[in-house]
């Protein structure tokens, strides 16, 4: 026995002292012990600093892979009893012992007897060494003493070696952590950071599954190691259970065996056994968790429980990760803010340019074209197509007035290229907008579609909803559409679009509908916000335009009304004259009739009869005079004929109405013969006649029914007829007079206009006749009317010579 001991000791001292390489050292010890004691197996377990785990560091007779993987948690197993009591234990039948703990898959179940002693270094127990045999055996005191001796002698070296290994372990961990720290600080990309973190955790621990979850803007994202796409199903219960718990409590969790952990009941089928999960916290904000799990996929693979040491390592890793993740988040937020700022600046500059071009737009059509251009152009808001609607309160509809958008994808691409080219050549947005030819826009199918759309304000379509709620409506899919929307979308040819209302003074004046038919870019809330910001000045500009429009129309009406009123005044004068006339006539008639009757009835004798007759004659004369005067009165003023420049009269009338004509888009062509001799006319009356003809022509052409180009031609020349004089031709493109109206046009009080007095043409004719002239009319249906007035010079016809 003593020989054995000596040999062993000698071997030991030669082995252990020089190298202090723990695994080798322990291996040798185990081998020697097995041989010396003729056992089937020997195992050496060492205790960690926290005294929480006993790790199998070396063995003979057990499976080689078991080393470092078998960890006995505190108080699990007979070995722990040995540690606690610091006394050797010898059991013939280990299984019978109450402290017996069978480590699954360790292969220990084939052994029946065991003998173990504590490894004491000084007064501290640093581990356990024990032997096992398959056959039951009673260990002798000597054997126990020998083992004890071995343990004592080796303790110092083991301790030192263990110390070194632990230190090496620490160093390795620190350098891994350092490396990780360096890597994560070199990048802002969250995915990369997560990758580095879990790779470090993998290196440091021996967990076979490492996962890191980070919380990003309240939507959890998962990163895995080894890299897996998506979220492996097997981890879902873990995520829902443990991760949620850790996120909420902000405390780490270490689970040795999930199956036996009641706190995480209900996790369902879980394929992991041991879990270590740490929260990633920085300054009270939970950025995420890092979770390590050991995956018992192999049928008889070992699974490791996590040690305290590993837990604190993970804690360190989590801290570094926290810094990096937070930094990355902050950087990203900053970049986002910068981007937003840039976008805002760009928006402002667009709005600025737009407002300039809007101010320069002269009329409503130009304005609308400018607005929609800005909405669609790439440098502007960049929508593919835009359609403008205006509210028509009278009809209760939302009327499409303009649509800006290419008809096909190719057109779109070509247009955009054109625009970009022009703009890169230095023409700014404003120039480009102003140079656009509005007619070019109107020729597209899209514009035709827009003009054809007339949506009832009672319908439940997106544009009407936008108007009613005064807020944008974004139709992203069929799910967002009402029944009527589907019809509308079909007409539009696009199933994703958005509508914003144009609001001025809390009133919806119209709406803009946009879509991205060609590049199918989704319309975001931000896009709509920009469009809305842009719509406010648009709505005001439109409203202003409409007011200006209304003002000028009112102005026109006033001018027309003025001249009408002059007419009516004459007529009412005539009306008064009629009452007067009745009186003036009644009296003489009464007298004439009365005396005539008396004569008839013989009421008067000779002398009186002659008297009566005289009176009768007198009254009759009176009546005659009255009639003459009446005619004069109905002619207007007294006939005031003078030599006049006919062309000048025409120019004066043109002067009165040029503005009206300009606003109605009526082209006025004056062809005045330069060598026209003066004519003897009552200028006021002729002017009145011309005014009446002009008003009729302008009104006929202002009718929107016709699509004829609006043109009024007035020409003067010397008469080519028998009687020398002047001829005036006035010709319009108002579509002509309906044949059924033709017989009545010269009747006073006949009119086809809702607010007409009907006197225009009859007065005209009377005036012409008074001047001994002739008026002819050439009516061409579908084209227009031409009046030809011929007036003799009348030089011999002077009543009131100047």
């Amino acid at each position: 026995m003593e020989d054995l001991g000596e040999t062993l000791l000698r071997e030991l001292s030669s082995v252990s002292l020089p190298r202090l390489y723990l695994p080798g050292m322990l291996d040798n010890i185990a081998a020697s012990v097995v041989e010396t004691l003729d056992a089937d197996a020997c195992a050496i377990l060492l205790l960690d600093d926290a005294h929480a785990t006993l790790t199998l560091k070396a063995s003979r007779g057990l499976r080689a892979e078991a080393a470092n993987h078998i960890r006995l948690p505190k108080d699990k197993g007979i070995s722990w009893r040995i540690v606690r009591e610091q006394k050797p234990v010898a059991l013939t039948c280990a299984r019978d012992d109450p402290d017996f703990y069978n480590v699954p898959h360790s292969g220990e179940d084939r052994f029946s007897s065991m003998m173990g002693v504590p490894i004491m270094d000084g007064g501290d127990c640093i581990g356990v060494i024990y032997v096992q045999t398959v056959e039951p055996r009673e260990y002798t005191q000597e054997e126990m003493a020998l083992l004890h001796e071995i343990a004592s002698l080796a303790a110092g070296s083991i301790s030192a070696g263990w110390r070194i290994e632990c230190t090496q372990e620490s160093v390795r961990f620190l350098s891994a952590l350092n490396e990780m720290s360096r890597r994560v600080n070199a990048t802002d990309d969250l995915a990369e950071i997560s990758g580095h973190v879990i790779r470090c955790a993998a290196e440091v621990t021996h967990a076979r599954t490492q996962v890191i979850w980070t919380v990003e803007d309240h939507s959890p994202s998962v990163r895995h190691f080894p890299e897996a796409t998506g979220d492996p199903e097997y981890l879902r219960p873990v995520r829902e259970g443990i991760v949620a718990h850790v996120m909420k409590t902000r405390l780490p969790v270490k689970v040795d065996d999930i199956a036996s952990e009641s706190a995480f009941d209900g996790l369902g089928r879980v394929a992991v056994k041991s879990v270590l999960c740490h929260p990633i916290i920085l300054q009270d904000e939970t950025l995420g968790v890092i979770l390590l799990a050991d995956h018992a996929a192999k049928p008889d693979g070992y699974f490791a429980t996590f040690t305290q040491e590993e837990s604190s390592q993970l804690s360190d890793i989590a801290q570094v990760a926290a810094q990096a993740i937070h930094r990355s988040k902050t950087r990203r937020e900053l970049a986002h803010a910068l981007e937003k700022n840039e976008r805002n600046t760009r928006e402002l500059s667009i709005l600025f340019e737009l407002s300039i071009s809007m101010q320069q737009a002269i009329n409503l059509d130009d304005l609308l074209a400018v607005i929609l251009s800005c909405v669609t152009v790439g440098e502007g808001l960049g929508f593919n197509r835009a359609m403008l609607f205006l509210v028509n309160e009278n009809l209760g509809t939302l009327q499409g007035v303009l649509g800006l958008g290419p008809d096909t994808g190719e057109d779109a691409a070509r247009d955009w290229k054109n625009i970009t080219d022009q703009m890169t050549r230095g023409a700014g947005l404003v120039q480009w907008l102003l140079n656009r030819d509005p007619d070019e826009i109107k020729r597209t199918r899209y514009n035709a579609l827009a003009e054809s759309l007339s949506i009832s304000l009672l319908s439940d379509t997106a544009p009407v909803r936008a108007i009613k709620t005064l807020s944008p409506v974004n139709v992203k899919s069929f799910a967002d559409m009402s029944g009527e929307d589907k019809e509308f979308a079909k007409a539009l040819g696009c199933d994703r679009f958005a509508v914003i209302p144009l609001v001025a003074r809390d009133n919806a004046v119209g709406a803009i509908l946009v879509d991205n038919l060609y590049n199918d870019k989704p319309i975001t809330g931000e896009d709509l916000a920009l469009l809305t910001r842009f719509s406010a000045p648009t709505a005001w500009a439109l409203e202003n335009m409409r007011l200006v429009d209304r003002l000028s129309r009112t102005n026109r009406e006033l001018i027309t009304l003025e001249s009408r009123m002059a007419q009516v005044e004459r007529m009412s004068a005539l009306g008064e004259v009629s009452a007067e006339l009745a009186h003036e006539i009644k009296n003489p008639l009464t007298v004439i009739g009365g005396f005539a009757r008396r004569l008839l009835t013989g009421a008067a004798d000779g002398g009186r009869a002659i008297n009566y007759a005289g009176i009768i004659v007198q009254e009759v004369q009176r009546l005659e005079k009255l009639l003459e005067n009446t005619l004069d009165v109905s002619r207007g003023q007294f006939d005031n004929r003078k030599k006049a420049d006919f062309n000048q009269i025409v120019r004066e009338v043109a002067d009165l109405y040029w503005r009206v004509m300009a606003e109605e888009g009526i082209e006025l062509k004056l062809g005045l013969a330069p060598d026209l001799p003066p004519v003897n006319v009552d200028s006021a009356q002729i002017k009145q006649a011309l005014i009446n003809l002009t008003i009729n022509a302008v009104e006929a052409m202002s009718c929107k029914r016709h699509k004829l180009p609006r043109r009024l031609r007035i020409a003067t020349c010397k008469s080519s007829g028998v009687e020398p004089g002047v001829t005036l031709v006035i010709s319009d493109t108002g579509g002509g007079i309906a044949p059924r109206d033709m017989p009545d046009i010269f009747n006073p009080f006949f009119t086809t206009k809702p607010s007409g007095t009907g006197l225009g043409l009859s007065l005209c004719r009377k005036i012409v006749r008074l001047h001994k002239g002739v008026m002819e009319i050439d009516n061409r249906l579908g084209v227009g009317v031409t009046f030809t007035l011929t007036l003799p010079y009348g030089h011999q016809d002077v009543l009131n010579a100047p």
Binding site: A579, A582, H583, I585, K586, N587, L589, T590, V591, I592, G593, G594, F595, A596, R597, R598, A603, A604, I615, Q618, E619
Partner: protein
């Protein structure tokens, strides 16, 4: 029996003459006045039983004069006699007893005068009795 007196107020000389002749032939005593002022002078002296009054007169027109007259005299019946039809709608004519539109056939006028006088007499009789 004293004749019933009628004052004819009209600005037309020949009308006055015609009415005078006709009414005289009908048995009335007739005086004429050519306008409101003239009527004012003649009425207190002539004291007519009935007045025929033209509306369209120079100076104060007939309706205005009628109103003034009625302030002082509510008894004497007045027959408005005018070429105008429109005044029938004017409420001022209510102050008169009748409104007659001039015509060369004076029968209607004479009939109206007769009726108005009868009514007036009845009223007077009623008042003295009651």
């Amino acid at each position: 029996m004293p004749k019933t007196k009628i004052l004819v107020v009209d600005d037309e000389e020949n009308i006055r003459l015609l009415y005078k002749e006709e009414l005289t032939d009908a048995g009335y005593e007739v005086d004429t006045a050519r306008d409101a002022m003239d009527a004012d002078k003649k009425i207190p002296i002539f004291r007519p039983d009935l007045i025929t009054l033209d509306i369209k007169m120079p100076g104060m027109d007939g309706l205005e004069y009628l109103r003034k007259f009625r302030e002082k005299d509510k008894q004497t019946p007045v027959v408005l006699c005018t070429a105008y039809q429109d005044y029938k709608k004017d409420f001022k004519v209510w102050a008169s007893e009748a409104y007659v539109v001039k015509s060369f056939n004076l029968d209607h006028l004479k009939a109206t005068i007769k009726e108005v006088l009868e009514q007036s007499a009845k009223r007077k009789a009623g008042e003295t009795q009651g």
